[in-house]
């Protein structure tokens, strides 16, 4: 497992002939026998030329990988069922051709690199389960220039991508389960005092109910409500689905819809609570919690 930059040195690069390489060797052997039998001088020349070009192509395959600098980059979170892109940064002082990345599970891509520039290459992997998707061990290989030799190196970066559950296709927001029950949603704001709740790390200092603390009621935070917007609690227990994954899929849909409708929303996941909020950070935090819920 590596972090930081890898420079492909001689010791990290392996080269073996491909099947095509072996078949060429067999062909050359046949040609050589023919040359010997018929004493074809130009036949020798052709056979030797082909053989030596094959040898030199091995050197070129090596050159195509050696001294390549690779750094692991970010992988943006994706929804389950979509494709995760692990970004790798390649830097090289020479142009490189036909590099392939493969993870041994059928995911691969092929690309060329230009000299000098920071080449950003995204390695696509299908996200099939929520939670952390590990990039695992990647193989960087090349068959350039003639496909006779397979030169490769292993890259094992500590790279992972967060996979959100696949949102349910359609699910109406839980209006009837709103805490007030009147259909009028209250959104936490800062106008009217509304009540106290347990302190969560990160709550603002001025909001701490010092009086309550003095009354030895524990660390509590004052909550205010505002009538300007609606406030919504997205609660795992409110989902009507039977299985956990279905529940999480519905929650995911709710988060996306609530964010889109500009609501303030909070998340309750069996005891853990995310206070209502709004914006991309809130959305991402909600999705993150849902994605990682109950994973061992």
């Amino acid at each position: 497992m590596e972090s930081g930059a890898i420079i492909l040195t001689q010791r990290r690069i392996f080269i073996l002939p491909t099947r095509q390489g072996w078949s060429l060797a067999f062909l050359l052997l046949l040609m050589l026998l023919g040359d010997l039998n018929y004493n074809l001088s130009l036949g020798y020349v052709l056979t030797f030329l082909l053989a030596m070009m094959a040898v030199m192509s091995m050197l070129h395959a090596f050159r195509n990988l050696v001294r390549l600098e690779i750094r692991a980059g970010q992988a943006e979170p994706v929804f389950c069922g979509k494709t995760a892109h692990f970004v790798l940064h390649f830097q090289s002082s020479l142009p490189r051709y036909q590099l392939h990345l493969s993870d041994g599970k059928g995911n691969q891509n092929c690309f060329d690199l230009q000299a000098g520039l920071d080449n950003k290459i995204a390695f696509p992997v299908a996200a099939t389960r929520r939670g952390w998707l590990e990039a695992g061990q990647l193989t960087l290989y090349t068959l350039f220039p003639l496909g006779l030799f397979h030169a490769w190196s292993y890259l094992h970066f500590d790279m992972r991508c967060l996979v959100y559950p696949e949102p349910m296709a359609e699910a109406s927001l839980p209006q009837e389960y709103a805490p007030e029950g009147s259909g009028k949603r209250q959104q936490l704001g800062d106008e009217d005092f509304y009540g106290l709740r347990a302190y969560v790390p990160g709550d603002a200092m001025p909001r701490i109910a010092w009086k309550a603390l003095a009354r030895e009621q524990g660390l509590q935070v004052k909550q205010f409500s505002t009538q300007l917007g609606d406030e919504l609690w997205l609660d795992l227990t409110l989902t009507p689905d039977l299985d956990l994954e279905g529940k999480l899929a519905r929650l995911t849909r709710w988060v996306l819809d609530a964010e889109q409708q500009g609501l303030r929303y909070g998340l309750r996941l069996s005891g853990k609570e995310l206070p209502p909020g709004n914006g991309t950070a809130q959305r991402n935090e909600c999705l993150r919690r849902i994605a990682l819920y109950d994973l061992t």
């Binding site: 062909l27 039998n37 074809l40 050197l59 001294r67």
Partner: protein, 647 residues
């Protein structure tokens, strides 16, 4: 497969097949072209490839066609035709890169088959060009995204790197003498003298400009009219065709009173027959070969490869003063009932009981006086009395007509005589100091057996056209339009160019094509290798290859190991050094910006240029903008503190 890849493959196969068009039947060549065009059309219009069953049908049709016209599938001609047709047909089921790889391998094989026909210098150069195309296509197959120019550069690099390695391998790879297994009779192309002679057979050969053999003399060079290169000797005549007849055991050849020995080396082009050529009469030859009772040099196997041998001949001799009776009887046999006029003529010479030598003189005088013409285009002699027609009606003929008629007359006069075919003369090549004997030097003459002199060469052609023997063919025939261009009288510079070219071809033959185990051993010991053995050569070869590949590796990876200073950095550091000399040295912790700001406070008049430079430096170094580097370097070099500011 992309369309461009298919077009490239088509071009590659077209290039590989093209040289075969020179010798393959037109139907096969056009069939190949048709397949290629068909695929090009299908690709262009994005149509589907033909169905499997149709391809099977075509394959069977091809095999049947070849079988019926060549009567085999495995001879040289048939094999090449089959290989080429099936290769072009392969395009009809070209789907994947793997199929394309098969095509590339087949292309290499087709190139090799072309060497059975010719291994000349142009063929070698063409091979290199074809190989370049093949490699370019090959790279395109494994890396379709690379631009054409980069692909060509890559291919050329591979080829150029492979060349010195190949040279090393070629010189050091241990050679094996002789074939490992039998080869088909028609493996190599050949043309040359046949062992039978009909009117017109030699004049057809004369139209060929090809080299029959090359000769270099050790020291003494005989006169041109002495250069009779003896080939097949013909005894039997059926009224039209001369053949060698059945070989009879006879007394061994004996040359007495020999004078004027010459030693020379012959490099014989393959002619697929088992006789060797030597000047009359050969005494000694360096290769295992036998001298027959009629003085032909015969070896056991046909000459299928260019071969080199040394010979010592005597130009003056008495050959077989004692001759077996049965040979002398063979020498006067004539087909019964043919050519009555000629028989009558010969009988007329017998009146008065002249000596044999006088009868020979009569015959030669007859040719000389009776308005005979020496021509390349004699009228045909279709009748059964061919010799009569020639001697009394047409009186126009080429050497085979004269030799044939002369021997006929001699036999009619009871003088043992036979026809000898071979080559006469040769062209001197000053550049390489050797003589070239071409097919167009083919000749036929006669030999008569005279008591007390043995077999004596009589060339009746010399009686009609002495120039043929003294100066060559073009000097002796009037209508020389039918001769190959170069056998006429080409311009001087062209002639010289041609001789230089032949000299080069000769070197090529000797050193590249003739590089066999014998030459290899000689070359190795010349290089200073002691007790040459194939193990030593193999070791040297491996060591040399390793060394060369190592050198190439160092060269190719030089970017990674040789530190090349950045030009921008160099320019900036020079500027800093100048500033330091002027008392403004940059502190280690100072960036370009802060340094410039400090200079600006000391020299306010320079604030603008130095801050501009610092900004440019930062942009070049840290923002990855490489395009203004040249301008920055120029500005750096120009930047100076003005004179009054310097302390």
């Amino acid at each position: 497969m992309k369309k461009t890849q298919i077009y490239s493959l088509l071009l590659m196969i077209l290039m590989v097949v093209a040289p075969h068009a020179l010798h393959l039947p037109l139907t096969i060549t056009s069939l190949c072209l048709m397949f290629l065009l068909w695929r090009a059309y299908l690709t262009y219009t994005a149509n589907a490839l033909p169905k499997r069953w149709l391809l099977f049908l075509i394959t069977f049709a091809i095999a049947a066609g070849i079988l019926s016209s060549f009567h085999t599938l495995f001879g040289r001609e048939a094999g090449v035709a089959l290989l080429i047709l099936l290769t072009t047909l392969k395009f009809m089921e070209l789907h994947t890169v793997r199929d394309a790889t098969v095509l590339i391998y087949l292309a290499c094989f087709i190139i090799i088959t072309n060497f059975f026909y010719s291994q000349s210098i142009p063929v070698a150069l063409y091979m290199l060009a074809t190989l370049l195309v093949i490699i370019t296509v090959w790279i395109q197959l494994s890396a379709p995204t690379i631009a054409l120019k980069a692909r060509c550069t890559m291919a050329a690099t591979l080829l150029l790197q492979a060349l010195p390695l190949t040279l090393l391998l070629f010189v050091l790879f241990p050679r094996v003498q002789g074939p490992l297994w039998g080869m088909p009779q028609d493996a190599f192309a050949s043309s040359g003298l046949d062992d039978k002679m009909t009117p017109g057979s030699l004049s057809r050969l004369i139209l060929s400009d090809e080299v029959a053999f090359r000769v270099s003399y050790a020291n003494q060079v005989p006169r041109r009219e002495q250069m009779y290169w003896r080939g097949p000797v013909l005894w039997n005549f059926d009224g039209r065709t001369w053949t060698p007849g059945r070989t009879a055991n006879s007394i061994a050849p004996q040359f007495t009173e020999t004078k004027q020995a010459v030693a020379y080396t012959v490099t014989l082009e393959p002619h697929n027959k088992n006789w060797l050529f030597a000047l009359e009469m050969p005494e000694w030859i360096s290769v295992p070969a036998a001298l027959t009772y009629d003085f032909q040099v015969i070896q056991k196997d046909a000459v299928t490869m260019r071969s080199r041998y040394e010979v010592r001949s005597v130009l003056q001799y008495h050959a077989n003063l004692q001759e077996a009776q049965r040979q002398l009887r063979r020498g006067v046999q004539l087909p019964p009932g043919l050519n009555p006029e000629s028989l009558k003529l010969a009988n007329s010479w017998l009146a008065g009981n002249p000596k044999d030598i006088d009868i020979v003189r009569y015959a030669l005088e007859y040719f000389n006086k009776q308005n005979f013409q020496y021509t390349l285009e004699p009228p045909p002699l279709p009748g059964i009395h061919g010799v009569d027609d020639f001697l009394f009606t047409t009186r126009q003929g080429f050497c085979e007509h004269y030799a044939s008629a002369f021997v006929f007359l001699m036999r009619a006069a009871h003088i043992p005589a036979r026809v000898v075919t071979g080559y006469q003369g040769g062209e001197y090549n000053q550049t390489g100091n050797y003589y070239i004997v071409r097919q167009s030097d083919a000749h036929a003459w006669a030999e008569v057996w005279l008591t007390g002199q043995g077999w004596v060469r009589i060339d009746p052609t010399a009686a009609i056209a002495p120039g043929r023997v003294q100066r060559g063919l073009s000097a002796s025939v009037k209508n020389n339009d039918v001769l190959p261009f170069m056998s006429r009288n080409p311009p001087e510079w062209l002639h010289a160019l041609r001789l230089n070219w032949d000299s080069l071809a000769n070197q090529w033959n000797q050193w590249v094509l003739g590089y066999n185990s014998e030459r290899q051993y000689a070359f190795m010991s010349w290089l200073g290798m002691e007790s040459v053995s194939w193990q030593k050569m193999a070791l040297d070869m491996i060591a040399g290859l390793t060394l060369l590949v190592g050198i190439f590796a160092l060269y190719m990876l030089r970017h990674f190991y040789v530190h090349r200073p950045d030009r921008v950095q160099v320019a900036w550091e020079k500027l800093c050094k100048r500033m330091a000399k002027a008392g403004l040295s940059r502190a280690a912790h100072e960036g370009a910006g802060t340094f410039a700001a400090r200079i600006a406070t000391v020299h306010p008049e320079l604030a603008e240029p130095i801050q501009n430079l610092a900004a440019r430096y930062n942009a070049l170094r840290y923002a990855g903008q490489a395009k203004d580097a040249q301008e920055f370097i120029r500005l750096c070099a120009k930047f100076r503190l003005s004179r009054q500011n310097r302390r």
